[in-house]
Amino acid sequence: MNSVHDMGGMHGFGPVEREENEPVFHDAWERTVCGLNFGLLRARAYNLDEFRHGIERMQPARYLASTYYERWLAGMTRVLTEKGVVTEEELDRRTALIQDNPDATPAPAASSASGEPFQPPATTSGTHPFRRPAAAPPRFALGDAVVTRNIQPHAHTRLPRYARGKRGVIDRLHGVFVFPDANAHERGEEPQPVYSVRFDARDLWGESVEGREALYLDLWETYLLPA
């Protein structure tokens, strides 16, 4: 979807603000959000594409007004409630209870949900969780000229607006991967080849380019047409 998360090429956000000696988390609740999310992904409460689409669907004003982990919390909550894992009502009620009784333990501590030891989250380490065996030879070869499709889906996509309807060249073949545009919407995995596509910055941004610049995006085969 063309929401404000797809911000590549926007102006107006100001300089990049760096923080000296930045802590990994700025508050204890950020640490909890981070841990819960990777735990939920690992437990398959939702998948990574569903989580991302949960964030993308935030109202643009709220998206921009939120901090990073506030956006995570919003995306997690959106998907968990849509899937019926928790309801908005019970979450609101429990939150109010905690606000009113900050020192109480909010709920009896649950025992371990499963006996198996915790594994590194599948999304960041280990063998690749989104790679699939190739079913057919890839449509494009190294060096092929391609043009990205001009699509405007309301659904989740990983083809950013700035790279639609643009000419590029196949630079690498990465293999076959789960297709997020399907996987975010319970449409199955639709695995297909992913290519690194090289774009001359002038083909994307026109005359405004400051010097010799190229952009590389990893794009699913569905996004590409022969040029």
């Binding site: 102006h11 905690i98 949900a113 400051e210």
Partner: protein, 199 residues
């Protein structure tokens, strides 16, 4: 304590505690999940593995070739199983920089948790359209004739920059090189400074 308790915790903190308690109650997560996950990010990973791989690539041409061509095998030398990484090499003709415009994709297992600026709208919006200006703000002036390659992490692959070995490090060992390699250099918003300049 009522609704007007002056020391009531921020709403977002209570909401996170509420969510966690519900997930535990329902048996979706175990009570030690957060500590285990976060502990792994805080302890087991971080820029160290990336820096060690870079240092080894600087001293060992065969390792460098392996890191660029088959990062999974190269990282296994440091005990890390991770097959999503592409390493891109800075040269006199090419400077690489990594971003994720759509969200915050980042090679956590080799670089640790990303800094806030990497995930912020200014960086995500600008580095794809005006990389030279952004790098200039980081103190990095890239000659117009040198090609900048911006890697927008749009799929389930992650990118790490192999920076150029700085001058004045010819006599340093692999172990001595490791601490020179900064996270920012492996994202591509900095060069590795010459140790003479670092002091």
């Amino acid at each position: 304590m009522g609704k007007n308790h002056p020391n009531v915790e921020p709403y977002v903190a209570s909401r996170v505690r509420a969510l966690e308690s519900l997930l535990l109650e329902k048996g979706i997560l175990a009570s030690d999940t957060v500590d285990k996950v976060v502990g792994r990010f805080q302890d087991d990973t971080g820029p160290m593995i990336g820096a060690r791989a870079v240092a080894r690539a600087w001293v060992d041409p065969a390792y460098k070739r392996l890191l660029l061509d088959n990062s999974a095998e190269a990282l296994a030398q440091f005990g890390l199983r991770y097959d999503m990484l592409n390493v891109v090499e800075n040269t006199p003709d090419v400077h690489n920089v990594v971003v994720c415009t759509l969200c915050s994709c980042y090679p956590w297992p080799v670089l640790g948790l990303p800094p806030a600026w990497y995930k912020s709208p200014p960086y995500r919006s600008r580095v794809v359209i005006e990389p030279r200006s952004v790098l200039r703000e980081f103190g990095l002036e890239i000659d117009d004739a040198r090609e900048i390659r911006v890697w927008d992490s749009s799929a389930e692959l992650r990118y790490m920059v192999l920076p150029q070995r700085p001058p004045g490090t010819e006599r340093l060992s692999e172990e001595e090189l490791v601490p020179l390699v900064t996270r920012d250099a492996m994202i591509g918003v900095a060069d590795v400074p010459s140790p003479a300049l670092v002091g």
